[in-house]
Symmetry: C2
Subunit: 331 residues, 2 copies
């Protein structure tokens, strides 16, 4: 099969690689759409020691089951594979499973390829009327859904239902949509890229600003750099909650004195639980998260260029989806 | 009246100062016992811009009401004065009141003095059988009670009831006692001072270590320095909670990447709510927090030496209590 393989820093190559071996309890999925994540870019730049070259990246995928009783079923993939038996899994916090694996990280190859093998429990059926390109948004949307849920659960009930979202990429936009679906009515989103910011304003009517300016009881840092954490800890209201999603850098930024004197919670979040993934995809299918047309589709062969464009900020759409079997109309 | 006045960096002097003017709704309290807090030391070293010299420090006080219908009543003082009308006060989070004042910080003079004026609602009656020296522990114990309550409320119910407490001073010891009273059975406490550590082990049978070594779902950082935050973020279990009480420095320490990948909450806490103060003092009076004999009593005149001894780590007892009216037997 064809796969876009990360060969070294800033090097992606189309290769012929073996079709994955399907283990017991797993299905082979023909990948029709797979999104490029910020963490793929991070790995591509050589900044993620968990993802050493050579490796097939990509973990935001949807496709059609190729084998067994599910053959022909259209599915979106929960890429996080967990043990199901540890205390975290048994309590529903599957994302904290110490044996968690995610496709695109050894030992599991990723989905920038024509096929992936996945456990049946990681496959979520997609309604016929819902495109597989949009279904490939399930993974980033679940990340944001989880962050929004965690923020709301941690928020003191007396506080206003307002939020600040830092970062207008897929995670920030999806967090805004998730918070809105959960009843937060007043949200400011910040995005330094002017083209992206105009897109958020014009296409979605969002209150998008170049830099965050408005204090809020909930702050979602969907970027995760020193500067965004500094802004988050400045703008979180006393007694409020910062949810930190990004993995930009690990280099300070928090005003710990203010977090302490003003009792602000800083909560790290990683991916989503199985239930979050189910809830988020249901919200997508129900239309509660809007039209979900904030994506741009390109062929997998053009993936290397897509990475370069994302890196250079040349894409206004928050998400680029790659198609390993040709344009969507042919799948 | 006599007062121990902070005159400048590392300078405390006994002075004759006017007895405080008693405002409407307030009572004059004759101070019989007042503890030295880490934050007093911090101010004394010139590290707290909120407490400029000249100023009477001290906010952990107990005494006897001098005037009005409460005259003669033995009380311990909640030193945090709040507005009672803002949204934080109305929702019970009085410690987040934007107009909060604390004695020992302008515009309110502190309790290293023979008298303090306080609103009646800040005075908690002390049972006759309970000494005023022990009653002066109410403030630091309330800080720790609040931190323990916040930690337990934030902890996922599936996690083990275990804790790590970093720092074996009054806040760390009281946090250990509060957590124990709340049902946490397995607690490690770390304290680098050998004399203090031996005291915690021998007098209280605590699992005291020179440095923190044991991971736990709850970590209380009762010190608040770069190194203790680094230890806290290394030893908090995935999905666990770090509660940060101290204001040692504001200079990093957190492993933000680990907090994010392992979904650890870092929660700043400041003082206590009015309800926490009532709950903590009730637990003290009921005996739920043990004998509360971890204090050493000195005359207010010897306060300057006491500060120097604390600064040099020459006091094994976690708390030094100063007595402005002579030794306890005479009060």
């Amino acid at each position: 099969m064809k796969a876009l393989v990360y060969e070294g820093v800033e090097r992606l190559e189309m290769r012929d690689v073996p079709v994955p071996t399907v283990k017991d309890g797993e299905h082979l999925v023909r990948i029709h759409a797979v999104g490029i994540c910020g963490s793929d870019i991070h790995a591509y730049l050589g900044h993620d020691e968990r993802r050493p070259a050579p490796l097939t990246l990509g973990h935001e995928a949807a496709g059609v089951v190729e084998d067994g009783p599910w053959k022909g079923r259209r599915v979106t993939i929960n890429p996080l594979v967990t043990c199901g038996t540890c205390s975290y899994c048994r309590s529903g916090r599957t994302n904290l499973c110490p044996d968690r694996q995610i496709i695109s990280m050894p030992p599991r190859e990723g989905a920038f390829a024509q096929f992936v093998s996945m456990p049946e429990s990681n496959l979520i059926p997609v309604p016929d009327s819902f495109s597989l390109e949009k279904a490939a948004l399930a993974e980033p949307i679940s990340v944001s859904w989880h962050a929004a849920r965690v923020a709301l659960e941690a928020l003191h009930p007396s506080m206003d239902r307002q939020a600040l979202v830092i970062g207008g990429g897929a995670i920030g936009l999806a967090a805004t949509l998730a918070l809105t679906a959960m009843g937060i009515t007043e949200i400011q989103i910040s995005e330094p890229n002017a083209q992206r910011r105009a897109y958020l304003r014009n296409q979605y009517g969002l209150d998008a600003h170049e830099a965050p300016t408005k204090s809020a009881p909930i702050v979602i840092d969907a970027v995760g750099f020193n500067a965004t954490r500094a802004a988050a800890s400045e703008l979180a209201q006393p007694g409020g909650v910062i949810v930190h999603v990004g993995l930009g850098d690990n280099d300070g930024g928090l005003d710990i004195r203010r977090l302490t004197l003003q009792e602000i919670s800083f909560i790290g979040t990683y991916t989503y639980t199985e239930q979050d993934f189910r809830d988020a995809t249901q919200a997508m299918f129900d239309g509660r998260l809007g039209a979900l047309d904030w994506l741009e589709t390109r062929a997998l062969e053009d993936g290397s260029t897509a990475f370069k464009d994302m890196r250079a900020g040349r894409s206004a759409a928050p998400k680029i989806i790659l198609t390993p079997w040709g344009p969507p109309s042919q799948t």
